[in-house]
Every structure is written in C-alpha cells, then in structure tokens.
C-alpha cells in the first residue's frame, strides 16, 4: 500500500486497560478487574479456552460492549465512554460479518465511504488491499459467492484498509484450511510489520500464537494467567494451566511427591532430584523426553500417532498419561517396555495445589542447544 492519506491513517497507539471488569448480568462476572498495557505497535495474541472472555475483551476495547467498570485508555485518551468510531480501532470479526448486500469492493470501502474519502481514493486503496490479499479477481462479487477463505480475507481487508491505530482480530483464520491459514499467517505478520498498528489477535491456534505474537496474553476465566513473550510462555509457563495450554501435544503433567531429596511417582519410581517435600506437579514437554536404553523411567507404549514429520507415543506411567514426541524414523519396538529419562534442565515444577510454577527449581531451564536420542 502506497501513498497513504495520513489524515485517516492513525499512528499505533498504546492501549491501557485499568481495572476493567465486565459482567453481563448480576450473577456472573465474565472479567474480574484486569490491568494490562499493550505497547504501541505491539502484536498481542490472546489465548484461552472457549468462553473465557476473549471476544468480550476485544469488544470492550472496540467499544462494542460497555465496560462494567474500569478505564480503557487508547493513545492517552480515555475511551470507555466513546462511540466505536471515535476510538480509532478496526476489527476482524470471528464470523466475518460481511455485508451480504455489498460487493467485496463495497464491503472493504465502506468505512472509507463513511469517513468521506473520495471515490477515486477509495478505488485506489481497495485495489491495493485486494492485491495484497489476493482478492483482485473477486472485487465485484457478493460475499455469498465467495468461499470461506475468501470471505475471511475480505473481512481482513475491510479492517486494514483504514490503516487504523489499533487492529483487533477475533479468530480471523479459524475457518481456513491449513495451507491458506499458513499463507495468511505469513501475510499478517508482513502486514503488521508494514502498518505497525497495535494489534490484538484472538486465536485458538498454537502455531498462530507462537509465530505472530510479540507477547501472548493467556486468559483463564477472565483473568490473566500469563502475559509474556512466546518464548517465555513456552519455556517458563507460569502455571500448570499455561503449561497445558501451550504446545501441541501439550506438556505432560505428572503428579509427584517430594520426600526431601527426590520426586516420586505414585508407584514409587523416582523421576527427578528435588529438595522440596510434599505434593508437586512435574511438567515435561513431549519433545523433551529422551528415550534411551539407559533411562531409568520405564513405561509401555499404548498407542502411536505418526505425524509424518514426527511421531507421538502415548504411554502411561503410574496410571498417568505421558506423551513422547519422536522425530520420524526412530525405530522403536512398540511391544517392549521403553526406558526414558527426563533431562533435569527440561523439567518444570509446579506447586501441587495452586499449580503455580516454582521458578528455577532445577536451575535454569533454558534448553541445551543439542538434543540427543538414545
């Protein structure tokens, strides 16, 4: 997109949520007071289980839902009582929400039209955005004549055409097939680099979260479980909730008991050295488990999932599920007992009850640079 009319193009803005709460009715509080600051130009991905309040959060920022309490500050202005159109946000809706009676071009140009942008300028901008999104051939079609993927791209085009200071995405890629999804992801990253709007992106998809985010905000029943860079979230999950939520397949969590020197499973096997006493939860990612003849932990394979690029072994130890990721081609005899070891550096320890992470329980958890197999 070239030659942008700066009167419409907005500068990336900081977003501050200060004690924002939301409840739809007297009984249920969807979002307890939260405080969070999204830096100007930052790309924040919001992750969380269905119904945890992600869309609600976005809609409050956009001005489509009122806050029940607290303040929202965008670019230094308190906006919680402003109309959506005065907040400088654009949004991609979970279900597209395209205008069925307008053509693709009209859909995308509508916000410009409302803003009074001249027809020539609108046409030019639509052409630019359409080219970028691969929609140039469909400009004259109505949404009903488009495939799901194309519709989603129109929805994105509609949001970005205004080059707003804040871009809000509500699961914008959820309805695309894998390939398209991948392409769009790359496209979005590119786009973000170019227009630099402060972006908030809701998704259920791990890969999207890891690849797009500057920081990931993990929501659980309306409160923030962790808000940090993808790396930190992946390698230093702040709680069992986060640990189990990130990674595919997710981190294995084992219930262990510390006797003051080692951590033991229910069947008595010792799995790690640790000086704490009492109940703990021990986490290890499937890809961090080392399968080697010398491993002290024994398990049996129940089931194998072959994913082409790697393989997932479903095993059980001490009545608890344990998944192991193996690069493809490592030949394993499914019938025989497997010996495993858990590299100390890759272990995560969480409190037994609260599930909060215990930092540096086994020293620095940064992964070693090379991983070896048996």
């Amino acid at each position: 997109m070239t030659a942008i009319d700066l009167s419409i193009r907005a500068a990336a803005a900081e977003i501050d949520l200060i004690g924002v709460t939301k409840s739809y009715d007297a009984k249920n509080t969807i979002i307890p007071p939260i405080d969070v600051t999204l830096r100007p130009g930052e790309f924040t991905v919001v992750l969380g289980p269905s119904g945890c309040g992600k869309s609600t959060l976005l809609q409050m920022i956009a001005g489509l839902e009122r806050v029940s309490g607290g303040k929202i500050v965008i670019g230094g202005r308190e906006v919680q009582d402003l109309e959506p159109k005065h907040r400088g946000c654009a949004m991609v809706f979970q279900n597209y929400a395209l205008y069925p009676h307008m053509t693709v071009a009209e859909n995308m140009a509508y916000s410009l039209k409302v803003a009074g942008v001249s027809k020539a300028e609108r046409t030019r901008r639509v052409a630019d955005v359409a080219k970028m999104l691969g929609l140039a051939d469909f400009l004259a079609r109505k949404p009903g004549q488009l495939s799901g993927g194309q519709r989603q791209r129109v929805a994105i085009g509609r949001a970005i055409i205004r080059e707003p200071g804040v871009l809000l995405f509500d699961e914008p890629l959820s309805n695309l097939d894998a390939q398209l999804r991948h392409d769009m992801r790359v496209e979005l990253a590119e786009l973000h680099r170019r227009i630099g709007a402060t972006s908030v992106f809701v998704t259920h998809d791990q890969v999207e979260a890891m690849t797009l985010a500057d920081r990931i905000l993990i929501l659980n029943k309306g409160h923030i479980e962790q808000f940090d860079t993808p790396k930190a979230i992946y390698h230093h999950p702040a709680s069992v909730f986060v640990a189990k939520f990130i990674g595919s397949p997710p981190m294995n969590i084992l219930q262990v008991e510390g006797d003051g020197s080692v951590l033991r499973l229910a069947d008595g096997q010792s799995v790690a050295n640790y000086s704490g006493k009492g109940k703990f939860q021990l986490g290890i990612r499937p890809e961090d488990i080392v399968v080697n003849a010398g491993g002290s932990i024994k398990t049996e394979i129940r089931y194998r999932e072959d994913l082409g690029s790697h393989e997932i072994l479903e095993t059980k130890i001490a009545e608890q599920n344990l998944r192991i990721a193996m690069p493809f081609g490592v030949e394993i005899d499914t019938t025989q007992t497997l010996s495993l070891s858990f590299p100390q550096a890759r272990l995560h320890l969480f409190e037994g009850e609260s599930g909060r992470a215990i930092a540096n329980a086994f020293g620095d958890a940064q992964p070693a640079s090379v991983k070896e197999y048996q």
Partner: protein
C-alpha cells in the same frame, strides 16, 4: 436426496390440488356469474356455468358506476397505506431493536396491542377522532383546567379543529395505526447477525447510515412482502373507507362495489354486474400477487439461514 418420496409427493399433489380447487372454486363462481345476464340470474340464481355477458357486465360497471375512479382511490389508499405502514413500522422497529432505551419494551407492547382490536370495532370512536383530530388535545386541555386558564388569559379557550374525513390522509392513517408491521420487522431484525451491526459501527456508521446502508438493503424482501400484504388488506378494506369518506369520489372501489347491492329488500341485486365489478376490482391485487409472489415467501422468513 435418494429416497422414496412418491407417496408423500402424491399426497402433497392431491392436497395442493384440493387446496387450489378450494381457493379457485368461489372465484370461478364469481367469474361465471359475472358472465351471465341479470335475467338469467333472476331465474337461476348464481351460475355454475359461464355465459357470454362478462364484458357487457364489465362495461356496465365501468360506464354506470364510479368504480373506475374509485379504483384510483383504492390504489392511492392501498399504496399509501402499504408504504406508510412499511416505512413507519420499519422506523419504529428499528428504534425498538437497535437503541438503548429503557422504554423500548413499553413502546413495543403499546404498538403490539393494536393487533388485538380491529378498526371495525372502534370505528365509531375512531370516526369521532377523525372528525376532529385535535379533539383529544382539546379534551386534555379542558380536563386539566388549562383551558380555563387560557380563557382567563386570552378571553377564549383553545378549541382547535381539523377534520381529516373525506381526505386521503383520513382514509389511510387509521389503517396505518397497526402493529403487525412493527412486529414482523422486529422479528426480522432480531434474526440478523448481531455482528453485522457491530461491524458497521466499527466502520464508523452512525444510526442513520446503518439504517440506510445496511438495514434497508437487507430488509428489502421483508419490506416487499409486508408491502404486498398491507397493500392487499388496504385494497379490500370496507368499513373504514365507507365511514371515513362521504363523497363517491373519495370512496374506494370496494365500497363502490357494495353500493351496487340495493338496500331496499324488494329488489334482487344485480349479481352478475356486482360480480363483474368484483372481478374488475380484484384485477389489481391479483396482478400484484402474481408479480410479487416470490417476495411473499422469501421476505417473511423469520430466521435467516
């Protein structure tokens, strides 16, 4: 679908045939009677078989009665009624559904209550209002004692007078004061995806732009079907046009049609001519139905799939 639907399709065809017969039967009788002579009818009553007098009967209607002019009135009344009903219902449903107003429920209930008591029953009192649409205001002024104050101050009480009888407005307005349209539009609005509304707001559209750019185009088919249905009911209204207009030139075709039935019970009505009139008067609405038929079924779909 691969399935044996023969039995149900045959049953459905038979049912529809019976239904069509049921509908068309009386219409056929109308037409066959319209094509007989008065003398034939005097001896035989209405006719099961068509005769040859249809056009001469129609000519009689066209030449001897005001029905042709009255059809123009009918057209004005039915059309304006349909248009006003559609527009006003649309606006009121819009206000009720899309604005945060505390009294939306009350407003809706007030509007909905009108479908409970038809104009036919309140025609006497409605006439009184139409004879002077300021009479409620006058009554309020009298009742509250404001008028005596005014009288003291200005020497005479306020007694405004404006009769809408014998005007097109007077014929149309009481028909429009009806809640079915608002009800239908409200149901329709409620089925529109909420996100469409939100998307428009994100795009910066205010209430008026949303109304014109988004809602109106989407409601096009609902609009059309409500238009047809109110047009038809406006066209066939009898009692109010009869009461609300006095001069033949203001009355509607259906009223004119009823005038063909003599009141003195010594006379046998000229049914062939009346039926010919009925056929004539029904031509416009039937054409309307034929032309807009597809909207009738599409437009009222209460929930969009």
């Amino acid at each position: 679908m691969v399935e044996n639907a023969r039995s149900i399709n045959i049953a459905a065809s038979i049912l529809l045939a019976i239904g069509i017969l049921y509908i068309v039967g009386p219409l056929y009788l109308t037409l066959s009677t319209a094509s007989q002579s008065y003398e034939y009818m005097l001896r035989n009553g209405l006719a099961w078989v068509p005769g040859t007098e249809l056009f001469s009967n129609m000519r009689k209607v066209i030449q001897d009665t005001r029905i042709p002019i009255q059809m123009l009135n009918s057209l004005i009344v039915a059309f304006s009624n349909a248009l006003a009903t559609c527009v006003l219902s649309f606006l009121s449903a819009y206000a009720i559904v899309y604005f945060r107003i505390r009294w939306a429920g009350v407003a809706f209930a007030l509007i909905l209550a009108t479908i409970m008591l038809p104009l036919d029953i309140r025609v006497i009192t409605t006439y009184q209002v139409a004879a002077n649409i300021f009479s409620p205001l006058n009554a309020v002024l009298d009742f509250t004692g404001l008028n005596s104050l005014i009288e003291m101050a200005f020497g005479a009480p306020v007694q405004l007078e404006l009769s809408v009888l014998d005007t097109h407005f007077g014929l149309i307005a009481p028909l429009v004061a009806h809640g079915t349209g608002t009800f239908l539009f409200r149901q329709f609005f409620l089925t529109l995806p909420k996100d469409l509304f939100k998307a428009a707001r994100m795009d910066g559209a205010g209430p008026i732009r949303f109304l014109i750019d988004i809602l109106l185009p989407l409601a096009r088919t609902s609009f059309a079907s409500l238009f047809v249905l109110t047009f038809l009911s406006g066209w066939t209204q009898y009692l109010w046009p009869l009461v609300g207009a006095s001069t033949p030139d203001m009355q509607t075709a259906v009223v004119g049609l009823a005038r063909l039935v003599p009141d003195a019970d010594g006379q046998v009505p000229d049914f062939p001519m009346i039926m010919a009139g009925a056929v004539l008067v029904s031509l416009v609405p039937l054409t309307m139905i034929a032309l807009l038929q597809r909207f009738l079924v599409q437009g009222l779909v209460l929930s969009e799939k």
